[in-house]
Amino acid sequence: MKDFRLSAFSQPTILAGSVIILIFVLTACLAPLIAGDPLNFDPLNRLKKPSESFFFGTDQLGRDLYSRVVYGTRVSLIVGLSVALIATSIGLILGIICGYLERVDAIVMRVMDGMMAIPSILLAIALITLMKASLLIVIVAIAIPEIPRVVRLVRSVVLGVKALPYIEAAIASGTKTKRLMIRHILPSTIPPLIVQATYVCASAILTEAGLSFLGAGTPPEIPSWGNLISGGRAFFQISPWLIFFPGLMLAITVLAINLIGDGMRDSLDPRIAKRI
């Protein structure tokens, strides 16, 4: 593990991605200190261009776009991290059980196939319309469609590891099934799972923005990058900064997370890295 930590940060992609994400995390945490009230109306300063007093300009109601983008960081990061956490933990448990117990596998994997057949954004919209839109519901609705891919990944690793001689050796020394799954099989699924988690995180941030843009995501009183872009769409031609800045932040965040994911993949499996 020590060796991995060292090599992880010697990867320039992980380092670059981590620095960017760290800046966003700090921004989200320190939002009240570095930005004004994102909901403060100022009818005299409507649709102002970016300037010294309004870094990113203002929207049609005179709200400071910079403050709104800063607060929007919170939503994106919370959604990204929680979805990654929820989807990978549920996926990990289901995947290990499926890989090990054939009867459960037959049933669960068919359900997963069914879920994968529905586009994730449609499934999320359906789930949100069933319940009242709130941040928690948005997170759950985005996490559920992400689960099948995690389950498939974990299951495939388990199926491969299960056939290895050291698992037979563990059975031959009297290890029980539960212990076998947790102690002997689970650790092998972690490296690919970490990589998958970063991709889930990035795609969750994008999905949240997409949902908010469609008006099915975060409620309007919480500024998020998605509903900022959605709100700015009508005034795009006269004040393009309204969608430019939130869009830029969205792109940078997703790029940074993907950089970390790629770097992790390379340092966790050096054989692939050398071939590419």
């Binding site: 290895l164 001689p165 050291y166 698992i167 037979e168 050796a169 563990a170 059975i171 031959a172 020394s173 009297g174 290890t175 029980k176 212990r179 102690r183 002997h184 650790p187 092998s188």
Partner: protein
């Protein structure tokens, strides 16, 4: 006063193990009977595919459920019949009373767990030791299998150890709970020759100190001569000859055993006659596929002494003296 043999540690009676294939059931082990005495080393020899490893897996009841099963016979161990015991009883026996050393030290250790933890695992499962006690015994076991600096090595992962050291770790795992039977399935095949000798010596030495009986599975007759007390020769799923190693090596009764012994390359050894002059001696032909159920003796097609009788009925294993038995219509008693 007659000399009474002590009760064997492990007694196998008429064990048959079959595998289910699309072409019908295949009998990999056919009515095998064997006794393993206390503190003895019994060598099970035979060429690839003769059922040696399947015998070992049957004893541990590790035959994959969907692919095969023990179809008849019994395995007596400590008043239990392992052939019919429940899975949970078997789990208590595996690694505790009967343990196994696998062929491949490179792949039989879990790459993501330190070797110390892998040794202490069976102690914690079977002896219910605390993690500190188990770690201490694990370190002692590493010292016992002569790994230098055991405390440091215990914290290392398998990839940091050489092949010979990994096999020592496997031995430490197998012997940690002081089992009464140790099954070693070709423990030295994957190692180079000098390490082979060290590992065999180590197994023998630990056998004495842990007071365990060893069932050594091998195809290397050199190994048998060095470490075995008794030898059982298997051919196509059946035991064809059994006896004390020295006696069998001096005078093999079965033509197959004879052929095996003659096939050991010695310096200057070669066929003395015929067109094959200059070649190493061998047993002609191939092992018959166990898919084809043979009526007669399975070795008949390759046997120099084969007679019409051999092709019609299979010979039963017949005791020739107190400790020797052979399954052949024309045993070699010269």
């Amino acid at each position: 006063m007659s000399l009474q043999l002590p009760a064997p540690v492990l007694r196998i009676d008429g064990l048959s193990t079959e595998f289910f294939t699309p072409g019908g059931n295949v009998c990999a082990v056919n009515k095998l009977s064997m006794r393993l005495q206390q503190k003895e080393t019994l060598c099970l020899v035979g060429e690839s595919g003769c059922g040696k490893s399947v015998t070992a897996l049957s004893l541990m009841r590790l035959i994959p459920e969907k692919q095969g099963a023990i179809t008849s016979g019994s395995i007596h161990f400590e008043d239990k019949d392992l052939a019919v015991e429940s899975e949970s009883t078997m789990r208590r026996i595996r690694g505790n009373k009967i343990s196994m050393i696998f062929q491949e030290p490179m792949t039989s250790l879990n790459p993501v767990i330190t070797v110390g933890d892998q040794i202490s695992e069976s102690l914690r499962i079977h002896k219910k030791l605390s993690s500190r006690q188990a770690t201490k015994i694990a370190t002692d076991m590493l010292a016992l299998v002569r790994i230098a600096d055991p405390a440091r090595r215990a914290l290392e992962y398998p990839h940091q150890l050489s092949g010979g050291m990994r096999q020592r770790v496997m031995i430490a795992i197998a012997l940690a709970c002081e089992p009464s039977v140790l099954i070693a399935d070709e423990p030295t095949t994957a190692l180079d020759v000098t390490i082979q000798a060290q590992i065999l010596e180590l197994i023998l030495e630990l056998k004495e100190s842990v007071k365990t009986s060893v069932l050594l599975i091998t195809h290397d007759l050199g190994v048998v001569a060095e470490v075995g007390q008794r030898i059982a020769v298997m051919y196509a799923g059946r035991k064809v000859e059994e006896g004390p190693v020295n006696d069998v090596f001096d005078q093999p009764f079965h033509p197959y055993t004879q052929g095996l012994l003659e096939s050991i390359p010695r310096r200057g050894s070669s066929s003395k006659v015929g067109p094959s002059r200059g070649q190493l001696p061998e047993i002609p032909g191939f092992v018959p596929s166990i898919r084809e159920a043979s009526v007669g003796c399975a070795f008949a097609t390759r046997c120099k002494k084969a007679s019409p009788q051999c092709g019609v009925s299979a010979p039963e294993l017949v005791a020739q003296s107190d400790d020797r038995a052979v399954a052949c219509w024309h045993p070699n008693f010269d």
